[in-house]
Symmetry: C2
Subunit: 337 residues, 2 copies
DNA sequence: ACAGAGTGTGCACACGTGGGCACATACGGG
DNA sequence: CCCGTATGTGCCCACGTGTGCACACTCTGT
């Protein structure tokens, strides 16, 4: 009576292997084996169990299985900034790949204020791995994850810690390629719009420009700090172009460059006639006819592929030394240079 | 020896409550209680256990806890099309809200070919809920989830099934509002660019336009089927504008409208001088100065809030009857009408 | 001194599964 | 008829936790 009341008040209990076993007149083990590919079981019986299971809507409980063998098949994906187009595209590709591998991505928004607590909570699951995409996760959390023994793979920011693998773009090389193209084309008066200072990627990309300019004996005439967003790029470019005469503008990413392009158009500066603008990342939008942005491709598929590769290697051998894989970007000539 | 070998070959075992208990000289139950807010435990002992746990990096295993009480705190989020800007923005907001509630979103890409198998697999977890965003999940899978007893909440597409709650925009009302504004402004020669036919939202939005035109005694001069993307919108608008003289173009979503806007500019059609273009959704990009798109806002925060609300109600009472909540869109006047 | 109330803690069970181990059955050869 | 092998299957333990229940201990009032 009390039991019955509880049954109906609570959710209906999930169908369990025991129930299926009783319905099929076999032992619970047989049901378990029926769902285990390599297991030893009479073919007819296996088929019968599958039929009954299907009719009852039974599937083995992945939680219980994970508890047993220590593999939850859950992977936390920490995204520094979900409002960034590049990170978003990146995550979409990553999610697709993980789904195909039967790994289940738990998304965590790093832009949120309560990120720290969120990570704390999600670390209570025996995650197969923690994948970091960009952003700046507090070191405290990195060391904690490391202590718990959850493998980490960072992309877009190199994390120097035991057991953390990295995949990162050669940022300086990317802007170097772009700057060289512009210098070769005769541009002389360079400006740079960077990202937030705490991102090493932003500093590296700036360095690439400076390298080329130094080598060519040219100054970096003006620079501004954007925030990797279209709006900030628009504002920064407006100021820069009003206060200086520039013929080349290198931007820390595509969003910034698109903002800058919009600003140039509003100010009546001809692109690419009087001014070259190049971005970084090669997001979808850069290809749109309205923008047709010359940029540096930061290859998403290749990067994701490497992340997955490192993940599988790490799972196969949890004790292996950390690795850092560097990805080569390349210049994508379009209509703004 | 064999044990030891296994220890080092496999991953290091996760710290367990038993280990902490031994280190603290208490029973395992005490450790469990130390991490259970309401539980009965001496304050000093609780503090000591917390300290030792922190030093060992112990956290209660959420998998085991979920197994015990039947609540995994995992929520699968099925996204119809991760390449759609609106769905992406929607998911980002949803993820943030779920994180804040200590619910962990497992993302599933509906655009992928192997979606069916992915859902099958993820249903093996005792999910707290399954949230659908747009797209068209096969009915087969809906009934299966329903049979297993996992609550479902659908947004962007109404699913008529037992135990499925819905949150949906009044699509026809949205385009009706927009079309009325255009008719009042004197537009007479209307075109419409829709989405894929299997989406009811697309048909509903078209109907809103037709309603207003019929009432005003105007014809729908031309229409085309886009695919909710910028590229398809560009192509569709190019054809439509070349073959017809239109002074108003209503688009099934903002991406399509942005493509249409770009096409109009390339064809030298003045917007909004000679042609009004309106979109639907009010994605971030619609606000950018380059586009400044007049559109119909399909409010993301409000929709997500309702989804969360339904989720909590459903969890509190799994047997409650299904509900459908309709969201009112509103016209956002900007520079393209 | 003793009863009773109040406070804190340990034991043991249940959650659902995978798989090792032992056992049962069948079968073929000598 | 007996032994050895091949083939299936069932029993039972472990995974890590939360919590009901019973028990131990302290304290107060008479």
């Amino acid at each position: 009576m009390s039991d019955e009341r509880k049954r109906t008040a609570q959710r209906p209990r999930r169908v369990t292997a025991q129930t299926v076993a009783e319905a099929a007149g076999v032992s619970r083990s047989a049901v378990s084996r029926a769902f285990t590919p390599g297991a030893y079981l009479d073919a007819g019986k296996r088929k019968k169990i599958h039929e009954i299971a299907a009719s009852m809507g039974y599937q083995p409980n992945a939680l219980a299985a994970g508890l047993k063998d220590g593999r939850s098949h859950l992977v936390a994906v920490f995204v520094g900034n979900m409002r960034s187009a590049y990170d978003t595209e990146f995550v979409m590709v990553l999610v697709g790949r993980l789904n195909a591998l039967n790994k289940w991505p738990i998304l965590i928004d790093g832009g949120d204020g309560s990120t720290k607590q969120a990570i704390q909570q999600v670390l209570r699951y025996p995650l197969d791995a923690l994948i970091l995409r960009g952003g700046s996760m507090q070191n405290e959390l990195v060391t904690q994850s490391s202590k718990i023994g959850i493998p980490m793979i960072s992309s877009g920011r190199i994390v120097e810690a035991k057991g953390v693998d990295n995949v990162c773009c050669r940022n300086a090389k990317g802007t170097r390629l772009a700057a060289e193209v512009l210098v070769d084309a005769g541009r002389r008066r360079f400006g740079y719009i960077g990202g937030p200072e705490q991102f090493s990627s932003s500093a590296d990309r700036r360095q690439g420009v400076v390298d080329v300019l130094t080598h060519a004996g040219l100054p970096l005439i003006a620079e501004a700090t954007g925030e990797f967003t279209v709006e900030a790029g628009f504002r920064a470019a407006t100021t820069l172009l009003q206060e200086n005469t520039l013929d080349a503008l290198v931007c820390a990413n595509d969003a910034t460059a698109i903002g800058a392009l919009t600003a140039a158009r509003e100010l009546g500066v001809a692109v690419p006639g009087a001014l070259s603008i190049v971005g970084f990342d090669d997001i979808d939008m850069a290809r749109w006819p309205t923008f047709d942005l010359s940029t540096v491709c930061n290859p998403i598929y290749e990067t994701v592929e490497r992340v997955i590769w490192l993940l599988e290697r790490r799972l196969a051998n949890p004790a292996k030394p950390s690795e850092t894989i560097l990805i080569d970007p390349y210049f994508v000539p379009r209509g703004t240079h």
